[in-house]
Symmetry: C2
Subunit: 479 residues, 2 copies
């Protein structure tokens, strides 16, 4: 976990906050949110909300009352208690890119496999700056569709001892995730926190579909930590003006969080944000633009105002298909905005390419340098007498250099952040070493992480029980 | 010019400000600054400062008194008054990379030529986000060393009507710059502002050499706008702790600015900053790291506290030799920090590669996207009833999309920043178009600017007089 020392940047003044508050209250109460699941509709109706067909019009004060039941902070429990993650407004937790059907590795883009999945979990386990492998660091296309969530959950618990996320594609998959979490974290069941978490995407605008809802309901019953994420590409799933998207984001997320609290008061939740733009020339998603940066900063301020931890997208988002300059600046901008906005859960922190369709081996190393740089850059500067290094100036005086000064020699090993991928080689040396740009050097960095990975221990009985569970359920699912 | 609507980020608290103030006062008064020029030493001695050999120990209160004579804002006059640049704490002006001996163009790194110089001036003239071509957008290695400053100044005035900078390599070159500015800007001589500006680098630590000083003295006599820039790579020219570098930066810059004010009270000046790190593994400069970002933010706060406009380095600085991911994230980070720090003059905003040794054709387009993105991202968000787009939500409701909504159709052309280089093409289309990464696409963007360039008109008599001046002086200089 990264700890924020300062408060996030807050771009909205009082008048803007009031306007946005008025906006989501009107949207949620007058236009309402569609919930395509009878239990959700029943819950809202029983709570006195207006239900017409599938559309629920919510009383904003009722929504705030439900939101008020959610904890301001909570713990994501890990197999290894030392890996627990506290989700709170003071922290940021980072996860790798999630959900990509393709990988780009060794210069080739291809269908992602279960082997890739395992390697990505290993990398997430190995890297100190990554707090959880998530649930789906890539899609294992070579495993049967109906049961691959079982393969993935088993691999997550075998290969990582960090907190893992659970499936949200159906109630059945969600229940499997919860059951397997109860096996893998059997020693943590009495601890305060969530043994599994999940991310529920809204079918923006203003709609929750049946599969997401059945997963939400299953996870809420079990007390999983639930991230509720409006998926807003302005121009497609939201209007093109940032305030309208912010209002919609709140209306959607708060409606979903209210449902979670109706099902299980006090259930840990995270206000999700995935806010970017549509390229209006071709209708494609675009990332790293100024509108998403502004939107992220405002999202963080709004979430803090509601007392909810929040998730941001980015991550290091980009539309680029390769780990090139575009991928780096778009990724750097989204990650900068997410951290300056004080995001508490950051999915897609490393590896994301091509609007999330591809996880890029080379992009992993680019993003780790970006993430580590930003983490150090947010460290408060200590200014005291010692930091002024007067003795060093007294030693070097005018026109000399500090390379050999005692002050430098005592500190040179760790005085500056040391990049993992960036080069400072001069041109001649860089040329002798093959004229490799950052992308061409990056694959070897990720390979090095894999080589350095150490598999965490797992109790044999637990491993066997997980295996038995997977075997039994796979048969039941007919794969 | 870009106008800042907010105030820069300010990382230093009162105690830190006091410590840094104590630091520069002690450094400037106890260790002092070396000035390798008799007139500088004479000026300081006459003003009652302690001069021992070449080292001047300055009374900090005397320095502040001199600083207080400098204007808080001033105008850089252009041939075309519509291109004037106001340097003040409320604005940022952007210049391309300066001083590179090499260019990287069409994939090849080679000695820069006078033809490259002209093309870079044309691009600086063409781009709205660039306020001045500077003085040396690359080194024209194919022109004689002693007289090339004449060729450059003539080309700057012929090809651009934006404010230009003058030479600082010697008194003679500085005087030529001033004389040519008086010819080219003859219609502006009675206007309030500086007809030429220059950047004086300190030979850090704590030393001004004779050539920089003779140029500084010549420009100060003439009332040029003078940027005084400590050149601090922490670990080499400054201690490895950021506060020590900040203290040194102030001591050096304020000593130089005090000299300018002694020569010509009220002369426009800019507090310069070029603050980065040394890679302690190999002694090479490194850029875009967290220490330079923190240093930039603190530098801006300190400059504003002194009431001086300030220059930052970055720019889009990088150690990378090519326009790759490293170049983009390092450039994005230095530019982000410079703008969040409220820098008023930003050299090296586009094109810089390889620690400034190379100006990269491909990097130009990368950096323009970075710069334009940051400019839009710093635009204050308007939140009002109209921005909430309630009608659009009322039209689209649940589960639809906004691509065809009236609200979208009215705004789609300019609702989002449109990148010049970033692609949102899907993978199939991107592959059909040649699988070109951003660097491979970027050269064509810069070529397009060249093709779109329009040469500004210049009075024939002025052009002839500039030509005569160059011819006469070239003969005198023996080239």
């Amino acid at each position: 976990m990264f700890r924020y020392e300062g408060r996030g940047v807050e771009p909205l003044d009082e008048a803007a906050l009031e306007t946005i508050t008025r906006g989501w209250r009107r949207l949620i109460s007058e236009i309402g949110v569609r919930f395509d699941h009878p239990e959700a509709l029943r819950r809202f109706a029983e709570a006195g909300q207006s239900v017409e067909g599938h559309v629920v019009r919510l009383d904003p004060d009722f929504v705030l009352e439900q939101i008020g039941r959610a904890p301001r902070s909570f713990t994501l429990l890990a197999r290894n208690p030392a890996r627990d993650v506290v989700v709170s407004e003071h922290n940021a937790a980072f996860l790798p890119a999630q959900g990509a059907p393709f990988v780009r590795r060794d210069g080739v883009r291809r269908d992602a496999t279960f082997a890739d999945f395992g390697d990505l979990v290993r990398i997430a386990q190995h890297l100190d700056v990554i707090d959880s492998p998530g649930v789906l660091p890539c899609e294992p296309n070579d495993r049967p569709l109906d049961s691959r969530h079982l393969d993935m959950a088993e691999a997550l618990y075998l290969l990582s001892d960090k907190p893992v996320m659970g499936a949200q594609i159906s109630a059945e998959a969600a229940l499997d995730s919860i059951a397997m979490a109860r096996i893998a974290l059997r020693h943590r069941l009495d601890d305060d926190g969530a043994i599994v978490s999940c991310n529920i995407n809204v079918n923006s605008p203003l709609r929750y579909d049946d599969r997401m809802l059945e997963a939400l309901l299953a996870h809420a019953e079990a007390g999983s930590a639930i991230v509720v994420t409006p998926f807003l590409l302005m121009g497609a799933m939201a209007p093109v003006t940032i305030p309208a998207a912010l209002v919609q984001q709140l209306a959607e997320a708060l409606a979903g969080i209210a449902l979670v609290q109706l099902v299980r008061p006090g259930c840990p939740v995270v206000l999700g944000s995935f806010l970017s733009t549509t390229d209006m020339k071709n209708g494609s998603p675009s990332f790293g633009g100024p509108e998403s940066m502004i939107g992220l900063l405002a999202s963080g301020q709004l979430a803090r105002g509601l007392g909810l931890p929040w998730r941001s997208g980015g991550g290091a988002l980009t539309a680029s298909p390769v780990a090139d300059a575009q991928a780096a600046w778009e990724g750097a901008f989204t990650m900068t905005a997410a951290m300056q906005a004080g995001a508490n859960l950051i999915l897609h922190a490393i590896g994301w390419l091509e609007g999330g369709l591809t996880v890029g081996w080379e992009k992993l190393a680019v993003d780790v340098d970006i993430l580590q740089t930003l983490r150090v850059a947010q460290t408060p500067l200590v200014v005291d007498e010692e930091s002024l290094a007067y003795d060093a100036h007294d030693e070097v005086r005018q026109g000399g250099h500090f390379l050999g000064a005692a002050h430098t020699l005592e500190r040179f090993r760790d005085c500056f952040y040391r990049p993992i991928l960036a080069t400072t080689e001069n041109f001649e040396r860089w040329t002798r070493n093959g004229s490799l740009d950052a992308a061409a050097r990056a694959g070897a960095v990720a390979d090095g992480w894999l080589a350095a990975y150490e598999q965490p221990s797992l109790d044999d009985a637990v491993a066997a029980e997980l295996g038995d569970y997977v075997t039994r359920r796979r048969l039941e699912l007919g794969d």
